[in-house]
Structure formats: structure tokens, C-alpha cells
């Protein structure tokens, strides 16, 4: 996988715990025991709305991500999928 498909549905892995921080958030995966962080609050909003949004693109839009910013959010989500923090969801 090179980048995530923004038009499908995604979700946080059920074993991931999210802790908001002033700079964004910390994510901890109890399965892989890895820690990672989200650098800004909007990315946190995107990640949190994945479960209810029909697609990642919709989640980004709802969080106020502009079209010209989409690419950088896509690569952030890609990294999260690679580390199994975010997983595909069948709507």
C-alpha cells in the first residue's frame, strides 16, 4: 500500500487508546505496544470521526481540512494504517 484510499471507511483499531494533548494527541496500541502521536488537533478530530464517517475524505471535510491540505492528512493516515493504529472498516 502506498497511500490510503480516502474514499473508503476506516476506523481506529479497537485496541488503540487515544489521549488528547495540547499539541494534538498520543496514541497507544495495546496489541503492538507502540506509541505514536498526532501533531495537531484537527488530525485528532479526523481520527476520532473515522468510525462514523462514510469515508476518510468525509471525516477530513467534517474536521475542516481544506482540499489543498488533503494530501498531508492522507500521508498521516497512511502512517497510522501502516502501524495498525487505523484499520479498514466495512460500512
Amino acid at each position: 500500500m502506498t497511500t490510503v484510499d480516502l474514499d473508503r471507511a476506516w476506523d481506529l483499531h479497537s485496541q488503540v487508546s487515544v489521549r488528547p494533548e495540547p499539541f494534538g494527541a498520543l496514541l497507544y496500541h495495546f496489541g503492538t505496544r507502540r506509541l505514536t502521536f498526532l501533531k495537531d488537533r484537527r488530525l485528532l478530530a479526523v481520527v476520532r470521526s473515522l468510525a462514523d464517517a462514510p469515508s476518510a475524505r468525509e471525516a477530513c471535510r467534517a474536521a475542516g481540512v481544506r482540499d489543498d491540505e488533503l494530501a498531508s492528512y492522507r500521508s498521516a493516515l497512511t502512517a497510522l494504517v501502516r502501524s495498525s493504529m487505523v484499520v479498514g472498516r466495512n460500512p
Binding site: 485496541q15 487508546s17 489521549r19 494533548e21 499539541f23 498520543l26 497507544y28 495495546f30 496489541g31 505496544r33 507502540r34 506509541l35 505514536t36 502521536f37 501533531k39 498531508s72 492528512y73 500521508s75 498521516a76 497512511t78 502512517a79 497510522l80 502501524s83
Partner: protein, 416 residues
């Protein structure tokens, strides 16, 4: 320093996690919680000088209140240790309570109580991880430090965990002069039981101060360790404890940050909160969970922790080109060897620590000792076989002996 799990950065994030952490967080990422000072072993290098239970130990109710706080603070997990934590009668109750409240538990044990039943129970809980302590890949090397029979105990525990289907539990090794040649042996042992190897640094803390001179790796061995970690780094955990070795060149995987009081800390069995598990000393005592503000109050308001969260000056190390990754090494290692906290680590790979250690003799440096010591005062009595008795009749007695008070005060007095 015990630090959080391995970190990853995603592509779009130029900031370093380490820079965010240097100023501390509102809640620790993880913390170490020594549940009891009681221990069935008496390892020569025990960093908490454990042995005897402290009568002031937190009660079950107090321990649960701490877990409630950790849940509210969203602490991801606690590293439970001791002493031997499973000796606490409420150990399993606290473990279940923590994981039910989404506070993950990683606990260290010598394995004595990891029976097949216990292993099955652990394997069934996704929020529990186990670290089996072993300090030699062979019984002779291990038992010299951890005591007779402790190798077999640990290996039996690993077998029980593997048989129960527990995957990726940890084989936890403190690196010493005697086991550095066994690194491949440890890796094989871990593989055999489906465990992951975790190597940590020997600190001169607790009873470790008494044996550090003889046990800490030589400088040649530190290089061997560094090369081995670079070759096997992704598969081996280090609790971030070797960041001082990054001065050999390349940084080792991990945060490379002393998290003391910033992202980690220690709660000891009586509820005292210290900056880190290797710093049980009044100078690093931030407060107690029994204080009115609880653990949260200590974490957020302690003077000591505030101080640790201000940018550190490099002191004597500031001009070193490796200061950015080595950060002067381990605070506890410096403190308990009597070295200044703003100078080099005693195991500085460039040799500056050794120079400082050599100077101690001349400048009258007093090496600080912890006042917290729960070592057993005497060694357990050596077991002997049955005592052979031979019953004889005393030739000097003319009558059978009677008790003192039944005997006439003049009995036995002979008048010539």
C-alpha cells in the same frame, strides 16, 4: 530510564516526540509501580533493595484509588514490579481492576508464581504483558546474581507461559559484565519460548550500588552491546535505557530521552512518588499518593518535577558533539556514583565518566546512599539434614534430672 514503548513518527510530522516530552506532560505515558518490597529472592543488584514487606504498604483500597487516578489521567499502562509483585495477596485483584479500567499492566516477576494456571489467566488478558527476569543465559551466570535455583524458576515460568499460548511476553535481562558474552544465548532462549528479549542497563541503585563496580560492563563490552543492539535493534526492547551509547555514533531505536518526572515516574510500595525507578532517594522524592492531591497532585505540582521539566543545561557535557542524543546519560547512574548531575555519565563512552570516577578519591566525594532499604537483615538459614542425636546417661548424675523449680535449692550440694 524506563521509557515508553518504541515510537514511530509519521511522514508529515517534522517535530520530534522527544522535544514535546522534554517539558513534561499533564500525565505520565507510563509509570513504574513497585507493589511490594517483599521478595522471595535477594538479587545482589536489586535496584529497590527489596526483601522484607513494608508494614506501611498501600492497602488494596488505596491501590485501587491510585488506579482510578491513572484511568482518569489516561495513563496508558503501568510497569508493575517490586520486590516480587505476585507475593501481594491482592495481586490478581489489582491486575484485573487495572485492566478493567483500561490501564494496561506490564509486570516483572522472577516467575516463582507463574504456575500453569496463572499463565493461562495471563494469556487470556489482552491488556497484560509479563516480563520474566533472568540475568544469565546459563544457570551459573544467572544464579550467581539472582540466587540458587532462580534460573530454573524463570525457565519454568517461560515454559508455562508458552504452553498457555502467551505470545511475545518479555525475557528481561539486566546487562552485566558476565552476561554480555551471552547476548546471542538470550536471543535463542527468548525465541525458544516465543518471547521478546528486553535488555536494560545495570544501575548503581539500591543494592546495585554495592556490586556496580564489579558487575557493570567494561568499556569494551559496551561497544559489543552497542554493535549488537544496532544489528538486532528492531527486535529487541531496551526500555530506552542505553541512550548514552548513542555517542558511539548512530542513535539507537527509541526516544533517547531521560523521561524522569517528565513522562515517567515511580510509585513505591508505601506510595512515595520518585522521579524514576532508579532514584529511590530523598533527593528525588516528589510526594506521596496519600497526600491530599493524590498522585495527580504530585505529578502536576511537585517542585522537583517542575524543576526536571525545565530545559537541562549540559554543564560539562555541553560542548560535546554527542550531547544532543546522549543528554549526559542517566541521572540516577551519576547520582549514585557520586558524580555531578550536569556532568558525564559514569559509563560515558568517550571515557569522561571514568575520569570523573577516578577523581572522586582525591576530591573527597561522598557517594550518596538511599535510606530506603528493605533487604533481609540476615541470609536465610542454610538448610541442613536431620540432626543425629545420641542418647546417653550422664555419669555425674545420681538421680534423674528434675525441673529447676521443683528441685530443692540444696539439691546437688555435697557435704564432705
Amino acid at each position: 530510564m524506563t521509557a515508553p514503548a518504541k515510537t514511530e513518527r509519521s511522514d508529515r510530522q517534522p517535530a520530534r516526540l522527544v522535544d514535546l516530552f522534554e517539558h513534561g506532560l499533564d500525565a505520565p505515558i507510563c509509570l513504574t509501580w513497585e507493589l511490594t518490597y517483599a521478595c522471595n529472592l535477594a538479587c545482589t543488584h536489586c535496584l529497590s533493595s527489596s526483601g522484607r514487606r513494608d508494614p506501611r504498604e498501600l492497602t488494596t483500597r488505596e491501590a485501587k484509588a491510585v488506579i482510578d487516578e491513572l484511568e482518569a489521567m489516561q495513563v496508558f499502562y503501568v510497569n508493575i514490579g517490586g520486590g516480587e509483585p505476585t507475593l501481594r495477596p491482592d495481586f490478581w485483584e489489582l491486575l484485573d481492576y487495572a485492566t478493567a479500567h483500561r490501564v494496561g499492566v506490564k509486570f516483572s516477576t522472577n516467575g516463582a508464581r507463574i504456575t500453569p494456571d496463572a499463565a493461562r489467566r495471563l494469556a487470556a488478558n489482552d491488556y497484560v504483558d509479563v516480563q520474566i527476569s533472568l540475568d544469565g543465559a546459563t544457570p551459573d551466570v544467572n544464579d550467581a546474581v539472582r540466587g540458587p535455583g532462580s534460573y530454573d524458576t524463570a525457565v519454568r515460568a517461560m515454559r508455562n507461559l508458552a504452553d498457555a499460548g502467551m505470545k511475545n511476553f518479555k525475557l528481561s535481562v539486566v546487562c552485566t559484565r558476565h552476561n554480555i558474552p551471552q547476548l546471542d544465548g538470550f536471543a535463542e532462549l527468548a525465541d525458544r519460548y516465543g518471547a521478546q528479549l528486553r535488555l536494560t542497563r545495570l544501575r548503581p541503585s539500591g543494592r546495585g550500588a554495592d556490586v556496580w563496580d564489579e558487575l557493570h560492563p567494561t568499556s569494551a563490552q559496551q561497544r559489543v552491546l552497542y554493535d549488537w543492539l544496532l544489528a538486532h535493534g528492531e527486535r529487541v526492547l531496551t526500555g530506552d535505557s542505553f541512550f548514552h551509547l548513542s555517542a558511539y555514533g548512530e542513535s539507537l531505536p527509541g526516544l533517547n530521552l531521560c523521561g524522569a518526572g517528565r513522562v515517567v515516574c515511580l510509585i513505591d510500595p508505601v506510595g512515595d512518588v520518585y522521579a524514576c525507578p532508579f532514584a529511590i532517594h530523598d533527593d528525588f522524592l516528589a510526594g506521596n499518593v496519600r497526600d491530599p492531591g493524590g498522585f495527580t497532585g504530585v505529578w502536576r505540582a511537585s517542585e522537583l518535577f517542575r524543576e526536571l521539566r525545565t530545559p537541562q543545561q549540559g554543564g560539562a557535557c555541553a560542548s560535546c558533539s554527542f550531547y544532543d542524543t546522549c543528554k549526559g546519560g542517566c541521572m540516577a547512574a551519576k547520582f549514585f556514583t557520586g558524580l555531578p548531575l550536569d556532568g558525564p555519565d559514569p559509563e560515558c563512552v568517550r571515557g569522561f565518566g571514568e575520569e570523573s570516577l577516578a577523581r572522586r578519591a582525591d576530591d573527597g566525594t561522598q557517594v550518596p546512599h538511599s535510606s530506603v532499604d528493605h533487604s533481609r537483615r540476615t541470609a536465610p538459614r542454610a538448610r541442613t539434614g536431620p540432626v543425629d542425636l545420641v542418647l546417653v546417661r550422664r555419669p555425674d548424675l545420681t538421680a534423674p534430672p528434675v525441673s529447676d523449680c521443683a528441685e530443692d535449692p540444696l539439691a546437688g550440694l555435697r557435704f564432705s
